[in-house]
Amino acid sequence: MDLERRHFDEMLLGSDGVRAPYAEYQKWFANEDPTRLSKKSKEAEAFFRRTGITFNVYGQAEAQERLIPFDLIPRIIANREWTKLSKGIKQRVVAINAFLHDIYHRQEILRAGIVPTELISRNEAFLPQMIGLTPPGKVYTHIVGTDLVRTGEDDFYVLEDNARTPSGVSYMLENRETMLQMFPELFSQIKVQRVSDYPKNLRRSLAACAPQGCSGKPTVAILTPGIHNSAYFEHSFLADQMGVELVEGHDLMVVDGHIAMRTTRGYKNIDVLYRRVDDDYLDPLNFNPDSMLGVPGIMDVYRAGNITIANAPGTGIADDKAIYSYMPDIIEFYTGEKAILKNVETWRCSEPDSLAYVLEHLEELVVKEVHGSGAYGMLVGPAASKKELSSFAAKLRKNPGNYIAQPTLSLSTVPIFAKKGLAPRHVDLRPFALVSPEGIDIAPGGLTRVALKAGSLVVNSSQGGGTKDTWVLED
């Protein structure tokens, strides 16, 4: 336990007390029979399986569909804490959209010398096809999932700005549904803000971004790579909840300058395409010619202003890990304000001094690939063996520009319901922001990912992490 005490626990204080946001929950929990809770926990798992809330794991022929473990102890955030967080996220999202518009137009921020030009020009996430193109409503990132971590009472850091196609929102919704089914009494005792409006808001927000030429009610559709994609459940879940069609590339075609889907009654135009396909696969005529997942010619329709693609192609340049380190300056440049949410100190290994520092302190740092995601290709220094450290150092020296390093943060913990009672585990938080010309809307809550192994800092579901329901209290 001593080892764990170094970390800030969001629920438990010292030997018996709990932090204020957990006070009501603790009262309930103290009166619960652990056997009943164990039973509920098993029920939840059966529920997830039956409903098919699974994700696919790449490269495993058998048991391809796996459950993301669900922990029944909620992660609770006070309204006061949330207000600050959501203000900070809004500020960042505004800055990111301004940055993207600038980068693909006048590039003032490069001229001002705030972001180095080569960081943009040599970056694979920068799409020359987007230069001079303004998406409908000037919105680039219709959906943003900002990854936050906490290290203390008032210390929240942004770990990553997911501005491409953030996933996980279906778990935010299903986790809440599961909790409502398992413990309805909790929600009558404790006032928790609702997240269930998200699908409705998402549809409205997307429709508000329809191309100018769209008359009448915009037709929205979700583009999925197909049932083998790891997030397919989420794609079909959102389509179902929003009441829009779930399409694949081969359902779509360019018809008279519009993107149209093949229906049982012929082709029907789509106005807004919420795509869950990466930029590279979006259009074999304009990007990766081998892609079977996209729509040939969609970029031309996009350029002609006849479809909204959400998120816009080329937004990856804003959540690139190398750009990340410039975010405080980017925010100040476009909003004139200091960043509300802190950035994690970051060493860009492309810079010789930083590389030297990183190599010297490798065992203390977390090193990430600039373009990586899902914790693939990541080194957690304190948890790595000597051998892993030295082979990673070799990779670093060979291609330093591909890496950034950050201090190993002492992530906050929230207890999970383990066999032997409450056990603290590290968590992060991904709230979801919707952007449209009507404004920015952040669902009160988000996805809390939790590392299920004691001491582990890796919360990614692809690496065995679980999830928790995230509560934002009403007051």
Partner: protein, 313 residues
């Protein structure tokens, strides 16, 4: 609705129907083997033929032994029509069209899939066979029940019904086709013990031995069995019944969409041909020829539906 979704619904229910039909075939074959009244190997062979699995089976086995056949039809991944393959495909299609299904239907498909995958993980022992076949049929029944109880009666529903009707018509037609010689009046005069067993097997493989008795007296004749399977409008697996459902569902679609397509003309023509027949004219035309023509018709209509409603691009 997306053309792909229509196709997914149609195939999902074809595959579910196929699971059930295969289970029935195995059940009938198993019973024959138990009663030892006929040559079991030739019986199992006709089961495999009816299931449309001959070439795949012959590529793997040299003899028609109960254990081989049962394993091949229930759980062999090398057999694309095995119950396990079909359950898997039905569920994959259901995932694809998840947004078109009610939670009840989806959960019935998904739970059934989880259960059968477990049940069919290892070879089925003879003592467990009745229970396993029961589980397969229950799976089908649950999904169908959820479908009827919870789905809107719209185009989505119509495509599911067409899938069921086509698969079922095809199945009943193939049962008759494989056994047609035992139904020819010239091949026997009423009532040898052997014939009775044959006819009873046919009826069992469409779960109709009891309904048949309720509708007919104890005198089983080839003509009465054939009449029942082909023309009886009350029996939900007869060719006539299935083709009526097909016509009805296509009719709903035409009304709903306000467009008549080639497939509508084809089913009308097919219905007219069937209506013009009595069992006597069927035998005059030649039972085998009649059935072959029926199967061709049904397949052509199926393909036309796929084209007319743009299942694939």
């Amino acid at each position: 609705m997306l053309g792909k979704t229509a196709g997914g619904l149609y195939w999902m229910f074809r595959f579910l129907e196929r699971c059930e039909n295969t289970a029935r075939l195995v059940e009938a074959g198993f019973r024959i083997a138990l009663t030892r009244s006929n040559d079991p190997a030739s019986e199992w062979k006709s089961v495999v033929t009816t299931a449309g699995a001959r070439s795949n089976y012959d590529a793997k086995y040299d003899t028609y032994e109960a254990a081989y056949v049962v394993d091949f039809l229930l759980r062999d991944p090398a057999n694309p029509s095995s119950v396990l393959s079909a359950v898997e495909k039905a569920r994959t299609n259901a995932r694809m069209v998840r947004t078109a299904l009610t939670t009840e239907v989806w959960e019935a498909v998904n739970e059934g899939w989880m259960g059968l995958k477990q049940t069919l993980k290892s070879p089925v022992k003879e003592t467990d066979l009745p229970a396993v076949l029961g589980e397969i049929r229950r799976h089908s029944a649950l999904v169908r029940g959820a479908l009827h109880g919870t789905m809107l009666r719209n185009d989505i529903f119509d495509f599911t019904q067409m899938g069921i009707a086509l698969e079922r018509a095809d199945n009943t037609a193939r049962i008759i086709d494989v056994k047609y010689y035992t139904l020819l009046p010239s091949a026997s005069f009423v009532g040898s013990a052997l014939d009775n067993v044959q006819w009873e097997t046919i009826l069992r493989s469409v779960s109709a031995h009891r309904s048949f008795r309720w509708l007919n007296d104890e005198n089983m004749t080839p003509a009465s069995v054939a009449d029942f399977l082909i023309l009886d409008p009350r029996f939900p697996r007869s060719l006539s019944f299935c083709s009526r459902i097909l016509e009805e569902s296509l009719g709903f679609l035409a009304k709903d969409y306000g467009t008549r397509l080639t497939c509508h003309d084809m089913i009308s023509a097919q219905r007219d041909r069937l209506r013009g027949h009595t069992i006597a004219t069927v035998f005059d035309e030649g039972l085998h020829q009649f059935i072959t023509a029926f199967i061709d018709d049904i397949n052509a209509i199926g393909q036309q539906i796929e084209k007319d409603y743009r299942f694939i691009g």
